[in-house]
């Protein structure tokens, strides 16, 4: 098997081959490092490559030879979003203020991956502190969409999505505050899951908005996402919002779903407000084709209404900046990160202000000032207080919808990938990219983004979003795997097989209209 073939395999397949002794973790890791060398100059999914990746891989191979039981993904490489703290690797969250900072501890999710024998390939690019929908707000330059290098890979986790879509890593970790896992999945033709709030530990995830943030898997298949979720999920005493649920095996749910021939008895709710006339035509078309496919397999399609979703984006852009302005106060030039001394010196407060001026990018400043305003005396009730009430109304909308349907669906993003630079000077237009994904974060429910085809007008990937009630993440994996199998049998192959081969040429046009 050539090294190119190894990068085309799923994490589940790689794990099986490594376990069977057909291939070593060192060979698999080397194949991915080679792929990164070949294409990441164009894609820029990575901010840092782990120098010890091969060493870890060799240790995993040795452990396996000694007969140690090392789990289904032992030896499989994984990419880590740079928002997660990693021992031995810089963790910048895409910000100048943390450039070169190496944390003194691992995030719980990272520690769990290491314990399960996965090989950390490196850290992936993101919008600064996860503020953005395109990775253009990274202090270290944008990531490029593997389907068309002139387009955005989504954000904030565009690096993780692009890494799996460009076959630089079989799986990755992301974080999702308002869609940062699901929207990049949609525009890169990959899979991403935002778990139930509290289902995965946030310890060691550099906080953006603590009541919204959730870490989750990024992959090319539903089963791979489930395998990673099984490893990273579950109670963590170091996160006081961590849930003590006994979670079922999501991999088992995905396998069941993949075997399932019928969706008979499943009620699938279409959120009327998220099937909107303003969405790109190809997105709406593929979404309705997917609905027809599921209906043909026996699912009952019901329309549900969520009238308060109209206020979700507004509430989100009050709650998020309010929480972010507080969370980012820790970047004070004292304990970690950048320090800039103003000309002529000054007090520690002057140093702090000069450091934050130099260390934060435009979008971060915009949201900190907005959050400071929303929390200030005289405006608190009108803004932050009202946004919290909207949050209640959105939870009620979901509760009602889930009394009529087992799973809710919508497009995962309103458009396909737009051109780099297209929305950079219009913050409000950028914020509206997350209109479909934000409600799930406000309510704490789980959501999955997965590919549902290419838009006929531009040949770019479009994604569908599945949403389930809190604690019922297994429903996403079961339905996701069934839908994935039905779509792939219609297409004849996984969607990403139609993506351009980046290694051959950096200039290309996306194939159009094939699917």
């Amino acid at each position: 098997m050539t090294t190119t073939d190894l990068t085309r395999l799923t994490a589940a397949q790689l794990g099986e081959k490594i376990t069977a002794g057909e291939v070593s973790s060192v060979e698999v890791t080397q194949a991915h490092l080679d792929r990164i060398s070949a294409v990441d100059g164009d894609v820029h999914a990575f901010l840092h490559i782990n120098e010890k990746a091969l060493e870890t891989a060799a240790a995993t191979d040795a452990a396996r030879k000694n007969g140690e039981n090392v789990g289904p993904l032992a030896g499989v490489p994984i990419a880590i979003k740079d928002v997660l703290c990693t021992l031995g690797m810089p963790s910048t969250a895409g910000s100048r203020i943390l450039e070169g900072w190496v944390p003194p501890y691992d995030a719980t999710v990272v520690a769990r991956l290491r314990d399960a024998g996965l090989v950390l390939l490196g850290k992936t690019n993101m919008d600064e502190f996860a503020m953005g929908s395109s990775t253009e707000h990274s202090a270290f330059g944008p990531t490029h969409n593997p389907w068309d290098l002139e387009r955005i890979p989504g954000g904030s986790g565009g690096g993780s999505a692009a890494a799996v879509a460009a076959f630089e890593a079989p799986v990755a970790l992301g974080s999702d505050t308002g869609g940062s896992i699901r929207q990049p999945a949609a525009v890169t033709g990959s899979v991403g899951v935002k778990p139930t709030y509290g289902g995965v530990s946030r310890y060691g995830a550099i906080a953006l908005a603590s009541s919204l943030d959730q870490v989750g898997p990024v992959s090319r298949t539903v089963l791979d996402a489930a395998l990673v979720h099984d490893i990273i999920g579950g109670y963590d005493p170091r996160d006081s919002t961590s849930l003590k649920d006994e979670w079922p095996s999501f991999a088992e749910a995905a396998r069941e779903g993949a075997r399932q021939d019928s969706l008979k008895g499943l009620r699938i709710g279409v959120v009327k407000e998220l099937d909107a006339p303003g969405f790109q035509a190809g997105v709406t078309q593929r979404f309705h084709e997917a609905l027809a496919l599921m209906e043909g397999a026996g699912a009952e399609i019901v329309e549900v209404s969520a009238p308060n979703f109209e206020y979700a984006v507004a509430a989100y852009y009050l709650i998020l900046p309010a929480e972010a302005s507080s969370n980012l106060a820790k970047f004070d030039s004292v304990r970690f990160g950048l320090r800039v001394n103003p000309v002529g010196g000054g007090t520690v407060e002057d140093v702090m202000a000069a450091t934050r001026e130099a260390g934060f990018g435009a979008e971060v400043k915009r949201r900190i000032i907005l959050g400071t305003y929303a929390l200030s005396a005289g405006y608190y009730d009108a803004y932050y207080g009202s946004a919290q009430k909207v949050r209640t109304l959105i939870q009620r909308d979901f509760a009602k919808a889930f009394s009529q349907a087992d799973v809710l669906v919508s497009p995962a993003a309103p458009t396909t990938a737009f051109k780099l630079g297209e929305k950079l000077e219009d913050p409000l237009a950028m914020y509206l990219n997350d209109v479909t994904t934000i409600p799930a974060n406000l309510a704490g429910i789980p959501g999955m983004g997965l590919p549902m085809g290419l838009a006929p007008e531009d040949g770019l990937p479009v994604g569908i979003q599945l949403m389930a009630p809190a604690h019922a993440d297994d429903r996403l994996y079961r339905l996701g795997a069934t839908l994935e199998r039905m779509l792939e049998s219609r297409w004849g192959s996984p969607l990403l097989n139609s993506a351009p081969d980046l290694a051959k040429s950096e200039m290309f046009g996306a194939e159009s209209g094939a699917l």
Binding site: P104, E357, R366, I369, A387
Partner: protein, 102 residues
């Protein structure tokens, strides 16, 4: 009165002081315009936020989250100082806390 009218450069300058960000005058001008537009669009939350609706601060509320009072592993002084811009081996080092007028 719309937010575009209410949010002046002086307000933005004041907020930047509270947030400890030494914004330039150019940034203050640009932000005043941008934030006004953003605020105009997010003000709509008040349309449905009636007094009878309780607020939600946490999506899945938990209460009394405690752990057993057992000492765990904590960072050593060396580890805690490892990422600091300046330190003296046991403490973070900073410049003057108080200004002359204080």
């Amino acid at each position: 009165m719309s937010e575009t009218e209410r949010l002046t450069p002086d307000v933005v300058r004041h907020l930047a002081g509270l947030a400890r960000i030494a914004l330039t005058e150019d940034e203050i001008t640009k932000l005043t315009g941008e934030l006004g537009i953003i605020l105009d669009s997010i003000e709509k939350v008040s349309e449905v936020a009636t007094p009878d609706v309780p607020g939600t601060s946490h999506p899945i509320p938990l209460s009394n989250v405690f752990r057993a009072d057992i000492p765990g592993k904590t960072l050593t002084t060396e580890e805690a100082l490892a990422g600091a811009p300046d330190h003296d081996g046991s403490r973070f080092r900073v410049t003057a806390i108080l200004g002359e007028e204080q």
